[in-house]
Symmetry: C2
């Protein structure tokens, strides 16, 4: 029983209205793995880095139960690098630099012990790489979740649709759901997207929360209003990691259980944005998570 995740492991340089950091730890799979590790002690990481990647970051992952035997380390090459600057509203950002480096010809290879993982989280990458991971699974996982973005809708529509057809849960933002479906109503968008293959749709709305759709049902997880928001980078990945980590822990893919998973994902994301990089995500105490879940409950609980 394990949770396999594939995605970037990267250096980020980030500027927000609340500060600036240079060449810090980032990447979708980094956020996903760390978030999931709070729920489940058996995470399998598939990614690639250069020899500039700090070995103590790998050791820290291993000590959290994250298996890095699927993390390729390329000698003489550099890790993926992304630089971005957030606008005043923190909801939009400009990409200042993207250096693919090792990611340019990344070909994921799944170690044998990864190939029967019941839970798979495909972080945002080219749909071809995501598909390659699915193809290498010996047994069909119980639940495959996939994150993607509008960029792939623009440049890789056909292979994106092929990959989407293979997964159970699709996670995208509201704008992307509208682009993918051609529908403005998110209820209608969900129905159209279910016709593409997925049985579950998670629509991430950043500071406005997240929606979970399944058949004719819909559930909403709010975002917690926070005193400090420093950096939204990785919030969506952290959310996905918490969501899938809780599902793997409970080994229960019922809609009722997924609701709880959505709230756990939102709680993890709320920690993520309170600090730059993984500064908070690597240091959450168990009691803090419990307290935050109670805050979420209080935020939306009412009697009629």
């Amino acid at each position: 029983m394990s949770l396999l995740t594939v995605g970037t492991v990267a250096f980020d340089s980030i500027e927000t209205p609340f500060g600036k950091v240079d060449k810090v730890i980032g990447g979708a799979a980094t956020y996903i793995s760390w978030a999931a590790s709070y729920f489940y002690p058996d995470i399998q990481l598939v990614s690639v880095v250069g020899d500039d990647w700090p070995s103590d970051e790998i050791e820290a992952m291993n000590s959290r139960g994250i298996d890095t035997s699927g993390l390729q380390i390329r000698n003489g090459e550099k890790s993926f690098f992304w630089a971005g600057k957030y606008h005043e509203d923190m909801n939009t950002r400009d990409t200042l630099a993207t250096e693919l480096n090792v990611l340019d010809d990344f070909d994921p290879v799944l170690p044998e012990n990864y190939q029967d993982s019941p839970y798979v989280m495909l972080g945002n990458l080219t749909p071809e790489i995501q598909m390659s991971v699915i193809r290498q699974m010996e047994t069909r996982p119980k639940l495959i979740a996939m994150d993607t973005m509008n960029f792939w809708m623009d440049v890789a529509w056909d292979s994106l649709l092929k990959t989407i057809a293979e997964v159970d849960v699709l996670t995208i933002n509201d704008e992307e759901a509208r682009q993918l479906s051609g529908e403005f109503s998110l209820m209608k968008a969900a129905r159209k997207i279910f016709e593409l293959g997925p049985k579950y749709l998670v629509i991430k709305k950043g500071e406005h929360g997240a929606l979970l759709f399944h058949k004719d049902e819909v559930f909403f997880a709010p975002a917690l209003p926070l005193l400090e928001v420093q950096d939204p980078t990785g919030a969506g990945d952290t959310f996905a990691g918490g969501f899938m980590g809780y599902i793997a822990k409970t080994d229960d893919i019922s809609f009722e259980n997924m609701k709880k998973a959505l709230i756990y994902g939102s709680a993890m994301a709320s920690f993520c944005v309170e600090a730059f990089s993984l500064d908070k995500l690597q240091n959450i105490k168990a009691q803090e998570l419990v307290d935050r879940m109670i805050q979420f409950k209080k935020l939306v609980h009412f009697e009629i």
Copy 2:
């Protein structure tokens, strides 16, 4: 015991991606009164129209328990007119025409039986008109709520602050809360706004729901994902009308009761946007409202 409301009663011409209507019934006080009338049979309207305003609309209001003795009807003059076009995302719009007409020199006069109303809802208007209504109250109402917008922050800052200082509940959107407070975090914005006078802050986020702040507490009402959204015009006013109507009905200004009021307001707004003008708002069946409240409960209810 009554709920007094002041605001525009107007003709609107509206274009959205889903249709177009010309010179239909609109105005903040129209939406507020109709929404509140589903909860409370004693609403008092303060506004002004020209002799072009349809008398059957006034009769329809009266039959709902809306007292229109405070509605000035100016012979030989035209009612306020607004025309707008919504963008594809339905969250932003361009104003195509604003004809103040009777509103240009509107001086609200409260009939004597209005002056001891315990509940007051000040719809979006110049802060001076809102203040004039407060000044005409014989006894301090139990609860005064005030809606406003960024326009008054830009052109009437000082009188806006003076009016805000007199009210208990301020309703604005997230962007306006940030502009008014100078804070990005809505938690911090709420604290700053409480220093201006109000004890309660409602932040309206349209299709992303609404937040209610009081002291250190916060409650969130989601927006219901809908199959059909035709026209967002009046949704914020309908929300405010449902919110204040429920509070007037229950005569209970505890935070616990306000949570329910916030959900009722959201439920009313969800009906409003399903059709143009007041087409749906004037025709909601009691069972429809009950069913919708259950949908809101299911949307956010989870166990931890």
